[in-house]
């Protein structure tokens, strides 16, 4: 396998024998704590039990009925702090039963079952009786797909409006291929498309009142799940700096056909990534894989305060990334033609607790220094576009321009307009967006009955 293939393809998942062996280790707990740990109610205890008792199609049905993106979640979920965290098999006691001292690999089993359904051509959903109600879904990321699927399963006429050329949202443009590849995404999208959903790509719902207008254009309800695609930056006027990328642009370039160009930008260069979350981890690890000479992770707090998952952090360290902790980026240094040359940093120390419950980094006066860097990727969070509230002027938003909803229903302040995913939560997990879509779909059905 070439270096490029390795970058573009996920590692193999479990096979049938391995998955059954893993299901065999399950204690089949009475109260299924793993199921309680799933934000999207994918019911792992049920599909593992079904697999254990050779009811394989039933296991696939459990996943697909409860989580239309069960494959993506199986791959991308930080399972160690969701379902697997609750697993009794890894109960940390001195009395660890033999073979039960680590959690069941629930994500791996889930991924296997979904892949197995493709391999065997298992179709779970029957074609429903068509209904007359029309629903518009804005955004084809996890939240939009989930809501659309939930409604389409029952015959509602669903149209998804997607701003980008291809559907998938963050699943297509926001993750690296070796974690979640195109082949997998296309398969999972096939399952969604089979429900009869209409996809309208290259169709951003932007401009004054654009979202609310959908209700006047014949849609009975609208679900807003556009995600967050504007990057936060430490230098708002730095757009023209050559070699400075946002994580959004960097990661989507690796996905949408600009791979070779981006690879050239990185190969043999000194790359610094700013941020401490999972997206930053994707950026640094991919930079290593693309052949960067040195990869630095710049984070203003300490290692244990990084929001990235522990295994991601360790993988990055193992991959040879230099962690530059307790350093606050200040500015960029450029050379001729606005070419990036370095990153100005100041050392920090940890002070008192801040609002997030973590110790606040405080700059150490006089400790400024410059790190030589050819490329800097900012992975310090995504935000709503500044002008986005104009697209739905009657909808209440908060100070960060995130849409306010009732968490039980996804209802916004405008009747018929629902919202979920990152545009409501801020940066969140795929599985949480899936749940938002399910919740909103249920509420939309209720709303349409009235």
């Amino acid at each position: 396998m070439s270096h490029l293939d390795k970058f573009k393809e996920m590692r193999k998942g479990l096979d049938l024998v391995q998955a059954i062996a893993e299901a065999d280790r399950c204690l089949l707990c009475h109260d299924a704590p793993c199921s309680q740990g799933c934000p999207a109610d994918t019911k792992p205890a049920e599909f593992i039990r079904k697999l254990r008792f050779k009811n394989i199609t039933g296991a696939i049905r459990t996943i697909k009925e409860n989580n239309i993106l069960g494959g993506a979640c199986g791959v991308l979920c930080p399972t160690s702090r969701l379902c697997e965290e609750k697993c009794s098999a890894m109960f940390k006691s001195q009395n660890r039963p033999a073979g039960a001292d680590r959690s069941i690999q629930i994500g791996e089993i889930q991924r296997f079952l979904v892949e197995h359904s493709w391999e065997r051509g298992v179709k779970i959903f029957e074609k429903p009786e068509p209904r007359s109600e029309k629903i518009a879904v804005v955004g084809s990321g996890p939240g939009g797909l989930s809501c659309a699927a939930e409604l389409a399963k029952e015959g509602y006429q669903v149209t998804i409006f997607e701003a980008r050329p291809e559907p998938g949202g963050v699943l297509r443009y926001g993750v690296v291929s070796y974690r979640f590849d195109m082949n997998f995404l296309e398969h999972e999208l096939e399952d969604v498309k089979a429900l009869g959903i209409k996809f309208q790509c290259n169709s951003p719902i932007e401009g004054k009142n654009a979202a609310e207008k959908l209700l006047q254009d014949g849609f009975d309800a609208v679900f807003l799940a556009p995600g967050l695609w504007d990057a936060a930056t430490i230098k708002p006027d730095g757009k023209d700096i050559q070699g400075l990328f946002s994580s959004v642009d960097y990661l989507s370039a690796l996905r949408d056909g600009h791979f070779e160009k981006m690879e050239k930008n990185i190969k043999g260069k000194a790359v610094a990534v700013i941020g401490g979350g999972s997206v930053a981890m994707d950026c640094i690890e991919s930079a290593v894989r693309l052949g960067a000479k040195d990869v630095y992770l710049i984070y203003r707090r300490s290692y244990s305060q990084m929001p990235a998952e522990p295994d991601e952090r360790i993988e990055a360290l193992e991959a040879g990334v230099h962690f530059v902790l307790l350093n606050q980026p200040l500015d960029y240094v450029t050379a001729k033609k606005n070419r990036l040359k370095g990153l100005k940093l100041v050392r920090t120390r940890l002070g008192a607790l801040d609002a997030s419950g973590r110790r606040r980094p405080e700059e150490i006066t006089g400790s400024e220094w410059t790190l030589d860097a050819d490329v800097v990727i900012e992975a310090i969070g995504n935000k709503a576009p500044d002008e986005s509230p104009e697209w739905y002027p009657k909808v209440d938003v908060d100070g960060n321009k995130l849409i306010k909803t009732d968490p039980e229903t996804g209802r916004t302040s405008v009747p018929g307009l629902f919202a979920g995913g990152d545009i409501v939560r801020g940066p969140a997990l795929v599985v949480q967006a899936v749940q938002d879509g399910k919740v909103a779909a249920r509420a939309i059905k209720e709303y349409l009955k009235q």
Binding site: V17, I20, D24, L27, C29, H30, D31, P33, S88, N95
Partner: protein, 436 residues
């Protein structure tokens, strides 16, 4: 330390350096194989059943299947293999090779014929070429021909007659190998004894069906579209083997040395057969699964057990459990107990709760808050199902309750219906045994 104990055993006057033998099967098909097994530590062999070359022996293909349990492989093995398909001359030459190179490893020749002359012929041939003992195969459950294999094992006069005929022409000891496909093995064993058998070996494979193809509806092994009831072996049949060995060992009239067979893989399995009366044991399925090397752990494990308990001679352990084996009517029903929980060890999976609810006395309450079971002692049946499913060793144990303790009766759902039942108490006197 291992040298301090003596694993050697006398079986019908033949000396074995340990009680672990290959049984007559694919694992003892050739001298090349048997030699390697001797090198690995097996003390002797019951060579694959000889045939007289009168009828061609062709094995079906495929000849085996297996039964898995979850992801655990080969809980049982299913086979439709016949007796040796090798020419008698080849097999006898193999005997000479083994006797020449492994003179202190006894060879037991397994033989099977259809009529007296054939049995006699094979017996003589085996003895004349160095066999130390004979094992008469009265028990193969899937030989294709009526009047052979287990059919003989079920026709007791034939069994006695063939044994007597063989005994008449050979001077080496003769073992009769029994089929488990009967209710009471003592009956055929006594016929074998009357015919002059010096020992009994049991069990041969149990008649069974390993599985059925869900697409083609053919039982397995699927021999080109046909299945058959055939021989099941492996760990799944061990309780059946132990039953037959123990019941023959308890039979004072039989009083013959026993060779235990059926699902033996570890020294513990072997020891259990010995504690119930076997003085040698034979293995096939365990080797089919793991190879000859398992004898290493059988020897070392049994030796260490004996050292720990100060047992010098393996023969001292033979039949040790028999005094404790009774009919169920001997149980002291006055003494009752319950399950007892060491809750410090509990991990909260709730499997005990599920089985107690659905298969026992509903004696467990589930505390959803703490994720812990709470035993209502007075309802506990002491079935111990909870202990079996509990993933934590030694969390649940059985404890005796005081004499005055009484278990709650199972509650009647709606006793107001009692007035409607059609019922007379049974009052007739009668014997406590079955009569028509």
């Amino acid at each position: 330390m291992v040298n301090n104990v003596d694993l050697s055993i006398d079986f019908c006057g033949v000396q074995f350096k340990n009680p672990f033998l290959l049984s007559s099967s694919p694992v003892s098909n050739s001298a090349e194989m048997v030699a390697r097994s001797f090198d690995a530590g097996w003390s002797g062999v019951v060579f694959k059943t000889l045939n007289s070359d009168r009828l061609p022996i062709v094995h079906p293909s495929p000849r085996m299947h297996c039964v898995d349990y979850g992801s655990k492989k080969e809980m049982a093995v299913q086979n439709v293999e016949m007796i040796s398909d090798r020419p008698l001359k080849h097999n006898l030459t193999e005997f000479l090779y083994l006797k020449k190179n492994y003179p202190d490893h006894p060879i037991i020749a397994s033989i099977m014929g259809f009529f007296t002359d054939e049995w006699v012929y094979l017996a003589k041939a085996a003895e004349d070429n160095g066999a130390d003992m004979l094992e008469l195969n009265f028990s193969c459950p899937h030989m294709c021909i009526e009047g052979a294999g287990h059919k003989v094992g079920q026709a007791f006069q034939l069994l006695e007659g063939f044994t007597a005929a063989v005994k008449e022409v050979v001077s080496i000891p003769v073992i009769a190998k029994m089929t488990p496909n009967i209710t009471d093995m003592n009956e055929p064993a006594m016929y074998a004894k009357k015919g002059g058998a010096d020992a009994i070996s049991a069990i041969n494979t149990v008649r069974g069906i390993s599985s059925v193809g869900l697409d083609d509806f053919v039982p397995t092994p699927n021999v080109f579209g046909k299945g058959a009831i055939s021989g099941t072996s492996g760990p799944a049949v061990r309780p059946i083997g132990l039953n037959f060995i123990a019941s023959m060992a308890q039979n004072d009239q039989l009083n013959l040395p026993l060779s235990g067979i059926g699902g033996i893989e570890t020294w513990i399995d072997a020891l259990e057969y010995m504690l119930l009366g076997a003085s040698t044991i034979q293995v096939t399925s365990g080797i089919m699964h793991y190879g000859y090397r398992i004898v290493d752990d059988m020897i070392e494990g049994l030796s260490d057990y004996m050292i720990e308990r100060g047992v010098g001679q393996i023969s001292d352990l033979v039949g040790k459990a028999l005094p404790n084996l009774h009919e169920t009517e001997a149980f002291d029903l006055e003494r009752q107990g319950i399950a007892q929980y060491d809750m410090d060890k509990c991990i909260g999976c709730g499997q005990c709760y599920i089985v107690c609810q659905d298969a026992a006395g509903q004696a467990i309450e589930w505390d959803a808050e703490s994720r812990r079971p709470n035993l209502i002692e007075d309802k506990c049946l002491s079935c111990m199902l909870c202990k079996f499913v509990c993933p934590v060793p030694d969390l649940i144990s059985h404890k005796e309750m005081p004499k005055e303790w009484k278990r709650q009766e199972t509650a009647v759902m709606d006793s107001s219906l009692e007035k409607d039942i059609k019922y007379e108490p049974f009052t007739k006197e009668g014997p406590n045994e079955c009569v028509i």
